[in-house]
Symmetry: C2
Subunit: 355 residues, 2 copies
C-alpha cells in the first residue's frame, strides 16, 4: 500500500550493501590454454549484467587469481568459480541472478555449489526497488522458478526491534557433492572466510575526509588508504573518491580481497569493510576489526563472520576468533553475540553500540 | 487487510503455546508469618486475571515452593517471586500483563527483575486474537506505556522461510541490580534453566491414545504418565484428558516443574514438554530430550534451552549439554543449531526434521 505521506526522494543515501556470493562447481571439461572458469567471461558481458543491477564499472585490477571491479555502487570480485557482488544504494543485484546463471552456463558452469545473499536492515527501506522491497520479497524472488534454488534457508539475525542482518543460504549443491567424496582435512588458513564489519554513526572528524570539498581530503584519504594497505602485505589497491563525497576501495592479493565503502554524510553515515582473507598470526581478526574500527570510530557496528567448517569433523570446532571479541573496549558495549552452525560454515554475528 | 477467502473457523487447533515468564525482585519489607511473595495472591485473583487470557483453572497442586495450576489451555506455575504462564489455542496471555504487574505491585513486588515471552511460529496465525496477530504486534504491545519494558530485545530464531521461534527478553531490572552487587559463583545445578521440546507431526499410533474415544485410552495414558513420572524422582503429577481429545500434565518437585501438552488431531498434531529442572548426572538433557522424543515420535521438533550464565565469568562458559545433541539419531536430521549469548543467559536453539 502506498503511503500518501511518503517523501518523494530518499532522506539519505542507503550505504548498507546487498551482498551476493555464488560458487560454481568446476566444468567437467576445460578448453586447454584459455583463461579458466569465469575468467573467460568478456568484460562487456559483466557490464551488461551490471545494467540490471543499476551500476557501472569504474575501475579494474587483477591479480591473475582474482579480478576486482570497482563499481559506481561498491564492488564485484570474480574468481575462477566464484563471484562476489556487493552493491549499495537502491541497486537491484538480485535482478541479475538469472543473467549470472546464464553467463555461467554458457561457459559450462552449469551447477551451483553454494549461494549466499545477505544484507543489513536498511536505513530507508521504503526507497528500495523490487525485489529489495522487503526480506520476504527477496527470499521469494531468490526461490522463484528458473533460479533452481529450493530448500534454501533464510534467517533474520539480531534484534527484530533494532539493528539486524538478513542472510540467505543455499548449499544443496555442495551438500550433494559432499556425499559422493571424501571430506578434506585442511588447516584453518586454507578455509573460506567472509568477514564483514558494518559501521554506523561514523566520527564526523574522520568521515568528512571522504568529501571532495573538505580541505583535509587528499591527506586524509591517503592516511586511510595507508591504514588499509597496512592491514595486509603485497596488496594491490584500486580506490575512488566520489563527487561530492563517498569513498570506495578494492584491495587484492592472490585470490584474497578486501573492500571498503564509505558514505560520510552525517545524517546517514555508514562504512563497510569486507574481506575473505583468513586470520593470520600477524593479523588475527580481533586486531583486524579493532584496526578498522579505529579508522572510522563508529557509534555502532556489526561484525559478521562466515568461517568454513572442518568437514572432517561434524562437531563444533574452535575457530581462531577469541570469544570475547572486543567486548567492552573503547566504551563500546556488545549487544548481541549469536552463533549459527550451518552444514558447511559457522557464522558468528556480534553487534556493538556505544554505552 | 481482511482476506475475503479466509475460512470462518480455524482448520485446526493451535497447539503451539505462548510462554510468558516473569521474575520480580523481592519486596523490601515482608509481613512475618504469612506466605511470602506471590503466594499471598488469592486463587480468585489469578482466576480473574486468567479471564483476560481466556482460560480457566481446572487443577491445582502445590509443593509449598511452587503452585502449579492446570489450565483449560495449558499451565501456570507460581513461585515466590516468579510466574510462568503457558497457554495455547487462541488465548491472549499478553492481555493479562498489566493486571499481573498490578497484582504484584499490590503485594509490594514493584520491581521486575526480568521478563521473557516466547512462542513457536503458529500453524494458523490468521486465527489469533490481538495482540497475538503477529510478532511485531506482540512486541509493540509488550513495550506499550504502563508496562515499563523499554530497551527489550526481540528475536526471530530459525528460518524465516520455515519453522521458527520468537523470543522477547527484558532484563534491565536484573542488569541494574547486578551493577550494585557481587556476582555469585554457583554450581550449574543451582542455576535457572528453561528447556522446551516442541514437537510436530506426532506418530498417530502413539498420539491417538490422547483421544477419549480411543480404546487404548486408559492404558496408553497411564503408560505416558508413567514414562513422564520416570523422568524424575519424587514428582507430584496433575494431569487431565480433554473431551473429545487432548492431554495436559503438570509435574512438580520442590521449586521445579515440568509440563506436557498434547494436541493429537493428525492434521495439526503437536506436543510440548517444558521443564526448569536442571540437568543431572542421572538425567542429562540429551537423555531427557531423547526420552521425550521416544514418547511422541514426532516428524520434526525444536529444542530451546535457556541456561543461566555464570555471572562470575563474562566469557562463554561450557554448558552441560553436549554439542552434538541428538544429531542424526533415529532418522532425524538437525536443520539448525543456533546459540545466542545474552547478558544473563545463554540460549541454544536446535531444530530437527526427519530426512
Amino acid at each position: 500500500m502506498d503511503n500518501p505521506n511518503k517523501p518523494v526522494s530518499s532522506p539519505g543515501f542507503e550505504g548498507a550493501e546487498k551482498l551476493l556470493e555464488i560458487w560454481f562447481q568446476p566444468a567437467a571439461t576445460q578448453v586447454a590454454g584459455e583463461r579458466k572458469g569465469l575468467f573467460q567471461v568478456a568484460r562487456q558481458t559483466w557490464v551488461e549484467m551490471l545494467k540490471l543491477v543499476r551500476c557501472e564499472v569504474i575501475g579494474y585490477i587483477s591479480s591473475g587469481e582474482l579480478d576486482a571491479y570497482l563499481l559506481s555502487e561498491s564492488s564485484m570480485f570474480v574468481g575462477e568459480h566464484s563471484l562476489v557482488l556487493k552493491t549499495c544504494g537502491t541497486t537491484t543485484p538480485l535482478l541479475a541472478l538469472e543473467k549470472l546463471l546464464e553467463i555461467a552456463k554458457n561457459i559450462g558452469l552449469t551447477e551451483v555449489d553454494q549461494f549466499f545473499y545477505s544484507r543489513k536492515s536498511f536505513m530507508f527501506p521504503e526507497f528500495q526497488k523490487f525485489p529489495h522491497t522487503g526480506w520476504d520479497d527477496e527470499v521469494k524472488f531468490i526461490e522463484k522458478e528458473g533460479h533452481n534454488f529450493v530448500n534454501g534457508s533464510a534467517y533474520l539475525i539480531g534484534k527484530t526491534n533494532g539493528s539486524h542482518w538478513y542472510c540467505y543460504i543455499w548449499d544443496l549443491g555442495r551438500t550433494l557433492k559432499k556425499e559422493t567424496r571424501q571430506p578434506e582435512k585442511r588447516p584453518w588458513s586454507s578455509r573460506d572466510y567472509t568477514l564483514e564489519v558494518l559501521m554506523c554513526g561514523l566520527d564526523p572528524e574522520n568521515s568528512c575526509i571522504f568529501s571532495r570539498e573538505h580541505p583535509k581530503d587528499a591527506n586524509g584519504r591517503l592516511k586511510v588508504t595507508n591504514a588499509l594497505q597496512a592491514l595486509y602485505d603485497h596488496v594491490q589497491i584500486d580506490d575512488f573518491m566520489f563527487d561530492p563525497c563517498g569513498y570506495s576501495c578494492n584491495g587484492i592479493s592472490g585470490h584474497h580481497y578486501f573492500d571498503v565503502h564509505v558514505t560520510p554524510e552525517s545524517h546517514c553515515s555508514f562504512a563497510s569493510f569486507e574481506t575473505n582473507l583468513p586470520p593470520t598470526e600477524k593479523m588475527p581478526y580481533t586486531k583486524l576489526v579493532s584496526d578498522v574500527i579505529a579508522i572510522f570510530k563508529p557509534s555502532s557496528f556489526t561484525v559478521t563472520l562466515f568461517a568454513e567448517k572442518d568437514e572432517f569433523d561434524d562437531e563444533v570446532t574452535e575457530h581462531p576468533m577469541p570469544p570475547s571479541f572486543l567486548g567492552g573496549k573503547d566504551g563500546l558495549r556488545r549487544q548481541d553475540r549469536i552463533n549459527y552452525e550451518f552444514d558447511h560454515y559457522d557464522l558468528a554475528f556480534t553487534h556493538y553500540t556505544t554505552k
